[in-house]
Symmetry: none
Subunit: 193 residues, 4 copies
DNA sequence: AATGAATGAGTTTTCATTCAT
DNA sequence: GATGAATGAAAACTCATTCAT
């Protein structure tokens, strides 16, 4: 009895195995064999489902983006006010899922790959634009277009920066202190001295 | 008598070639052959001077750190006031040298390598600690130790974040707008509403 | 379902190819490429099955030992008397299989490798101990423990020595004259003047 | 003041360094760099004096042969009787110089190289012929040409065999027991039961 | 659908040899 | 005579990809 419809199951299994492998072995030394072993499947199957290693990588990056986007959208939907929507973005950026070491490793890999792989670069641009545009929208009450732009830009930067600094910190990365700093920054943007 | 004392010259040549190659071909696909060609020297010489590809990479990361540290120290020495010293740090972080695409690529590589290579991780920690400790020191006039800490942390994060966002921006990365945003942030930390 | 269970077949093929290659090209200049070509398989497969060149060499040495041991054991089983068992050992040592030029080259290599490679040294010790202990056992009727020991030692030495001298003799190495000399030596040990 | 007549000094230094290096690193992994370092001289100098690595190896083998031959000749000159001359050969074969681990390693290497390198093979043949012809000459009083031949052959074999077995024994190789066994064998050849 | 087997192109690494000084 | 520098050819080893079953 041939199993049918395995495609989505297998693809997901490989993508998740890729994220774990990137963390465990580092992206540079990642082999399709590693991923297959991690997924408990055969090496040949990677090519059956993705066609090439690089296609698997792109699928993995896309997966990160989708998961992240879904988390943000979910939180935005539940938020009541513009201020709450800003908190939602911060929350979605520092939630437990996003601070998992495996996910962090994969995101950083994402950034580096974007430097040279156009396909990955395109994906990352989507993330960056979506984030800045969400922020700009929530800052729209600020007096000038210019102020809103700067507020959005600085908030986005601080999210990325706090995340980046947590990546390689001594302690387990924890979102709480990052969220506190972010909230203070947002407040200072909204009620300037 | 043979030509002597080439070691430092060659090492530097290879390190600089490595930075350019990382940018041109991407770190993942980097070969010692690429670096040698870029340096205009033979592949064998890379191993003669560094022993292995990975030792070359570590030397390259160390080079980045040294150059960056020297730039910051230089600017700090010339600064007149605590406020000026904060600007010095920002300046050193967004100066032309640091925003060269080649240097940016290499720094990002640095981060990714730090995830899995302990030797690289150690180097990166040095950078992070030095930056935060410099900032903490300049923020020492703030009312509480806590406020100073948060100010330092948020400033460091924003530096890294702005840099990171410029990495993959559409335009040539330019430091001016980043510096403006940073200065505003520093001011808001020093004179809270 | 894929073709399965090739591992032992391939391993044996490579080991036998290694023995032939050691003879043809000399151990010092032996490359995994040579062995692969000799086996009619790809170079990569050598590493797939053995992990490294040196593991292949060790497997080859082990193979020699096993084949030799099996030949001796077989002959010992068929022997009727202690005297016959001594002849069995001599026979097993100078049989056609052991005097094949390829096998001789490989054994000599074995000895040289034992000088510096602990793993190989361990294997060779097994051979030496087994031989001397077999001989000692068959000489046990001699008046003193001491005499038996010397008889065993001298017999073992003469086996190795005759073999060694045949290795590089002008003519095709032939076992007959060696066996005759050995038999005379054994007789002189058992019935001293 | 240019030093003149360095050639023999340097050549000897390299040859002795080669013997030590063969023992320390194994012949297979021997590099001219190793030898040069061991000799405390530069790598280029090896080629200046020998022209190639393989010429150095041959010179080293020749050196072994000369030293060994000189030891035997010296002892033969001092011997008073045919029986004493047989003892002289045994003595020369198991003297301290010949049982030095470095020398043993080099001799074994010599044998292996002889399998594939005609130049080395030629050298080794000289050793073998000289030894057998010396022995044959001292056994010339035996009743038949045939008996003398067998006695010479078995004695030579036992010398080589005892030496070979000492090479890789557990203990420091020591000549005494070998000499005792050899003397007994010679006696049994001369006064058969 | 799935796999173990196999490959070959490409990578790091080693090293004898050459050379300018 | 002597050396450190440099090279290039060849080696071990890796791995994405293909394939027969």
């Amino acid at each position: 009895m041939p199993k049918t419809g395995m495609a989505p199951v297998r693809r997901r299994a490989f993508v998740e195995a890729a994220i774990r492998s990137i963390h465990d072995r580092g992206f540079v030394d990642l082999t399709t064999g590693d991923v297959a072993r991690e997924a408990g499947l055969s090496q040949g199957l990677v090519h059956h489902y993705f066609g090439s290693k690089s296609a698997l990588i792109i699928a993995t990056m896309r997966h990160l983006l989708i998961e992240f986007g879904a988390g943000i959208r979910e939180r935005l939907r539940e938020a009541k006010s513009p201020r709450g929507r800003l908190s939602a973005i911060v929350d979605g950026s520092f939630c437990d899922e996003q601070l998992q070491p495996e996910v962090i490793s994969a995101w950083l890999t994402f950034y580096v790959q974007a430097l040279t792989e156009p396909a990955v670069r395109r994906l990352l641009r989507i993330y960056q634009r979506r984030l800045i545009s969400n922020l700009r929208h929530e800052y729209r009450r600020l007096p000038t277009r210019e102020t809103a732009e700067v507020a959005a830009e600085s908030t986005a930067a601080m999210i990325d920066g706090l995340w980046l600094r947590r990546v390689l910190g001594d302690a387990e990365p924890c979102g709480e202190s990052a969220i506190a700093i972010m909230e203070a920054h947002i407040d200072s943007q909204l009620e300037p001295s």
